[in-house]
Amino acid sequence: MYRYQDFDRAFLAERNAQFRAQVERRIDGSLTEDEFKPLRLMNGLYLQLHAYMLRVAIPYGSLRSAQMRQLAMISERWDRGYGHFTTRQNIQYNWPELRDVPDMLDALAEVGMHAIQTSGNTVRNVTADHFAGAAADEVADPRPYAELLRQWSTDHPEFQFLPRKFKIAVTGAEADRAVIRAHDIGLQLVEKDGEIGFRVLVGGGLGRTPVIGKVITDFVSEAELLPYVEAILNVYNRFGRRDNKYKARIKITVNEEGIDKIREEVDAVFVRTRDEFTGFGDVLDRIKADFAPPALEEGRGTQAYSDAYEQSPVFRSWADTNLTAHRDADHAIVTISLKAHGATPGDATADQMRLMAELAERYGHDELRISHEQNVILPHVHRADLPEVHARLSEAGLGTANVGLASDIIACPGMDYCALATARSIPIAQEIATRVDELKIEHEVGHVQIKISGCINACGHHHVGHIGILGLDRAGVENYQITIGGAAGSDAALGTRTGPGFPAEEIVPAIERILTTYLDLRCDAAETFIEAYRRVGMAPFKTALYDKEQSRDAA
């Protein structure tokens, strides 16, 4: 994994010292709130409903054990002993006090972490496939490119005042686990005639105007990635709508100008940026060396795994849902669910963070990942160690076997924390998970993604949920609108509204009706929820949701 150089350390130390001084000047009255607010936002500090909130970047979702331990320490020393992992591969602390934040940032810097560019109209934390470097299906590890982009865009003068925030995601595999189609730029590593390059998508985004990204080029070589991205940002800087915040994202620019026109403009600028580009010297090679794959154990049997799989139904159930194929058959990728039924999606206590750090150190080559699905991943675990890993996780309340199932819900903080929210999301997620657990139907239902946002900003990705839930304020009452048919992977699609929304006390039964309707109408157990929806369309779900007779029967 990337290790900070002296340059990064000096840069962070300077930024933190500046921010410490800015906080002092705000407190002693030399800075007004209007002056201070953009400064604190540049350093990831928001003011929410009940307290400040510090958003810390976890670049491409990768963490070492020492970093996870530090996150735990910070949560105990300056917060309330837990952290919230988000869809943007960040961690948020919900209760810091203003005076403590400079100390928190210093503590982060000790382990090479920071909160810079987690806010503002800049290139945000570059996200990547959380299975990067481990997945059986990838062309190459996307993280070196994410890191290259991070280094290049951090504090880049041309990109500090973009028309609006700018989000880039990179994946190394065809199966899109980084939701690249919902990012301003999505990069997919591809191989063409033995050469590594990128398929580039542009103009994806969620928020109040959701758009699926469009392919701007099918191939740009590794060497030309930076000048190509620079060309896109340059065109965006010129054409982006600075007059209207709601039209300022590149997705609107692409929609208004058309992808062909944007492609023409980008190609024209690219001629220049490519010429001016002097190459990245050995920077990429050095970064790649930092991401060298771990030395995997060879020749050790996996009998312990097979035995546990045969003998323990609990282990088998967990193995079936929470493990993913590793490129090495003797290893597995472990997804640790932060979605215990009834718990807050994405939250981990300090003790849980320390346990995950310990397991990563002992059994997982010191690597942890945060997924946009708000779970934690141990990317390289030998199969023989899985029974022990599972046992330790279970003791800590981290053994829930539900990854990819109905209770593995993405939920934004919603009105329990967020100042922009129009309704709550967390309690809805908690209640749905509790309900499907009571009914014991989620293993039968199988793969379905439920995603919840507490307002149209769509931080909870509801548009691309198989089932999306959007919380709104309807005349002073929380009301929830359902969409069906969205998808976040390489089959990305925006969901369609089912019809009128539901009040808080009716939303869980409504979701239950959708799930049982699917069970009734699917061809067989192999047909997933989204496949069934694509076959039958909205009509049966609408009937189940709105037909009075039926809803009374179900109630």
Partner: protein
């Protein structure tokens, strides 16, 4: 001329240092307990009190007028957003619900 109808308000903000929600009391103190807030029934007075709050940038951030109604223990929220601010999040017993006695 009868006064235009004005729905009662409280002045609320977040504390600069702690970041938590506070309400302006009749005596001009900032209280973490909404029930101690000054319930303002008059539009002119609301504007005055808001201006007073805005002059205290060293203590609070983002003061605004929020709708409220009289309750047995003091002013109460009328909208759920303000109810959450007065109580704390629903997923943990943190914030006001844990910090204030008698709530």
């Amino acid at each position: 001329m009868p006064p235009r109808s004005f729905s009662p308000k409280v002045v609320t903000a977040n504390r600069l240092l702690e970041g938590d929600a506070v309400w302006l009391t009749p005596s001009g103190r900032w209280s973490p307990d909404m029930r101690e807030a000054d319930l303002i029934e008059d539009e002119g007075r609301a504007a005055e009190r808001l201006a007073e709050a805005e002059s205290q940038a060293g203590l609070v951030v983002g003061p605004y007028l929020a709708d409220a109604k009289a309750g047995p223990g003091g002013p109460e929220p009328t909208h759920f957003r303000e109810a959450f601010r007065a109580r704390g999040p629903s997923n943990y017993r943190l914030g006001k619900q844990a910090e204030l006695t008698g709530s």
